[in-house]
């Protein structure tokens, strides 16, 4: 009986190896399929975008159809301002909420908060745009940079909150205990020990959130609205790169299509650089602490 079982096992090794190989190939194939769209999108945008890239794109205001030159400098500046407004609102709220959830949040209230944050992540961005439209645009009777920034901040907050929480949770308990054992207050421990230790993770979250919102179009359609000029302050409409790409892409004119491709390329490079930046920050973060 015992002997037969051993034999059976030995015989099945070949079969197991075959299954193993087959499955490994299948998984590798799935990975390739998953990554292929990224490669295709990047390649396609580069091929089409390179044509329209020149200095005018980032230094000049839009030109009317049929006139040579012109760029979308206002859109790049507009996007930067929108991201700045969104960050100014979302970073304090998001980081503090993350610290709370990781360090102080206990029980039902914190659990509810965490659940709601996750729900917020799943809300379609266009819905967020409508919220900002109803709360800011309609009462002020004007589309505005402020409403666009607020819409983007709502999208940023859950990402920042959850990544901050996760980053701080990864800080070893022993470090906290060491600090507390030396008689340091809990608040001071969080401020001076826990947050600096988890800073790499927090920064990652912030950059991820910025990368996420810099390509958002839907929440800006009825808030930031778009403009063919430089911004005129937070209560006036403002241009944004994704909006400009959208408007140009649906036009019948080739020169606008070329500019849309070029802007898409710049936007994509920005997000890629941000992502690569995240990796380098987190890596140095870990190395300097010898993790």
């Amino acid at each position: 009986m015992q002997r037969a079982l051993v034999l059976r096992r030995t015989r099945s090794i070949t079969r197991r190896l075959i299954v193993d190989r087959a499955m490994a190939t299948l998984f590798a194939l799935a990975t390739v399929i998953a990554v292929a769209p990224l490669v295709l999108v990047v390649a396609y945008i580069v091929v089409n975008g390179v044509r329209g890239i020149d200095l005018d794109l980032v230094t000049k205001l839009p030109a009317p159809v049929g006139e040579a030159g012109g760029g979308m400098a206002n859109a790049f500046v507009g996007s930067a301002i929108l991201i700045a407004i969104a960050s100014a609102v979302a970073l304090p709220v998001g980081i503090l909420a993350g610290v709370y959830l990781s360090e102080f949040g206990r029980g039902r209230f914190a659990a509810t908060l965490r659940f709601l944050t996750d729900v917020l992540t799943g809300i379609p961005s266009i819905v967020v745009g409508i919220v900002a439209y109803t709360l800011v645009v309609v009462p002020f009777r004007s589309f505005s940079a402020l409403s666009g920034g607020l819409a983007l901040s709502i999208i940023m907050i859950p990402t920042v909150t959850r990544t901050t929480e996760e980053a701080l949770k990864r800080v070893p308990t022993t470090i906290r205990e060491a600090s507390l054992a030396l008689g340091v207050h809990e608040w001071k421990t969080v401020l001076r020990i826990v947050i600096p230790t988890g800073l790499g993770g927090i920064v990652t979250g912030v950059m991820l959130a910025i990368a996420r919102i810099s390509g958002e179009t839907a929440p800006l359609l009825f808030t930031a609205f778009g403009s063919s000029f430089w911004g005129e302050g937070p209560l006036k409409p403002i241009a944004a790169v994704p909006l400009q790409i959208f408007q140009y892409a649906i036009s019948p004119y080739k020169e606008w299509h070329d500019q849309a491709w070029a802007a898409a390329l710049v936007l994509m490079l920005f997000v890629l650089v941000l992502n690569v930046g995240i990796r380098s920050v987190t890596r140095t973060g870990f190395q300097s602490r010898g993790v």
Partner: protein, 364 residues
């Protein structure tokens, strides 16, 4: 590590400061126009105008508003969100003017009047709607009843006797007609369905004329860019879109039989000729639809596009700028628009526009 963060932090602070620095510009022109006028910083107060609506008008406006800015220094920010959206935002008073390829219907008029009083329609341009098709045949001829038959689904093949009768000697393929229409509400659809209603009692009773209708056949595509793209990529397809899309994308357009029985290609001139007739018997509210217009050279699927504004402009500065803008767009701004495939307004319509603009009251 921490230095990196400091730099990043400093950068974002600077950005925020830059964003807030812009707020030195008068925030809301609505309530503080007198304060703006008294501001020492600007000798001649210039408030930016904001408009939204028809995507058909957007390229035209990009050119005309640039000319207006060069002349007066007033900047007009126009965003194409669709005709319906423009009217909606005007009603919500989030924009100073709307632009639409179809006149406000009763429901829209009611809502707008409740929000801000009577609305003035100012025709600003005219355009032709091309019937684009994807067949290896040049100069396909169609007439109203046949086109209506195609869009009603009663004509299913390209070699249908009705199409063959219009194209003697042309070898038509026996492939199926792939009908493409807009999936979103649009002014282009309004002009197209107005035409079909004018030429086909069947269409009028079953479907009617509107910005969005219940299509009996065909597939929907978003925007004129979607319809023209679909037609380009589908052999045997037929679709409708503004002339500019046909010209810019090299899509063949059907030659349409007009009310005088002549076959006319879609063109700026054809639309202008059709519009010239409309000026003669224009209703007082300027909400004229002139599809299937008389005249040998009139292209039958043509229409106006309007700027719509509230008649009562409470804000003196903005109101005056708006009037100046409308006057410019309907006169000097009409020059050179045919290069962008828009038909310039006939003199008679320009005069009617001037009258309509005069009814706008400022600061009362």
């Amino acid at each position: 590590m921490s230095r990196k963060l400091l730099i990043a932090g400093g950068f974002s602070v600077a950005l925020v400061a830059a964003a807030c620095g812009g707020s030195a510009v008068p925030p809301s022109a609505g309530a503080t126009s007198s304060a703006v006028a008294g501001s020492p910083a600007a000798a001649a107060p210039k408030v930016q105008l904001t408009g939204a609506g028809s995507s058909f008008d957007a390229p035209l406006f990009s050119k005309v508003f640039k000319g207006f800015q060069d002349k007066t220094g007033i900047r007009v920010n126009y965003q194409s969100i669709g005709s319906g959206g423009g009217v909606e935002q005007l009603t919500k008073k989030t924009v100073d003017f709307g632009a639409s390829d179809f006149p406000l219907n009763d429901e829209q008029t009611k809502a707008a009047e409740a929000a801000g009083g009577p609305v003035v329609h100012v025709p600003v341009t005219m355009g032709a709607v091309s019937i684009g098709y994807n067949l290896p045949i040049d100069g396909l001829k169609l007439d109203g009843p046949t086109l209506s038959g195609i869009y009603l689904g009663t004509i299913k093949k390209w070699d249908d006797p009705a199409i063959a009768a219009l194209n003697p000697g042309v070898k038509l393929p026996s492939t199926a007609v792939a009908v493409v229409h807009r999936s979103d509400g649009s002014g282009t659809t309004f002009i197209f369905t107005s035409y079909l209603s004018a030429v086909s009692p069947d269409w009028k009773s079953k479907i009617g004329a509107s910005g969005s209708v219940n299509w009996p056949v065909g597939i929907g595509a978003k925007g004129s860019e979607g319809v023209s793209g679909q037609v380009t990529n589908t052999p045997g397809a037929i679709g409708y879109f503004e002339l500019a899309y046909a010209k810019q994308n090299n899509i063949k357009s059907a030659v349409m039989k007009n009310a005088a029985g002549k076959f006319v290609e879609p063109s700026v001139q054809g639309a202008a000729d059709a519009g010239a007739g409309a000026a003669a018997n224009m209703p007082s509210d300027l909400k004229a639809v002139f599809v299937n217009a008389p005249g040998d050279t009139s292209y039958p699927i043509s229409g106006f596009s309007w700027i719509v504004v509230f008649q009562k402009q409470a804000d003196k500065v903005k109101g005056q700028e708006l009037v100046d803008m409308l006057s410019y767009v309907t006169t000097a701004g009409q020059q050179g628009v045919d290069a962008l495939y828009y038909a310039p307004l006939p003199k008679a319509v320009q005069d009617l526009d001037a009258k309509a603009i005069k009814t706008i009251t400022i600061g009362q």
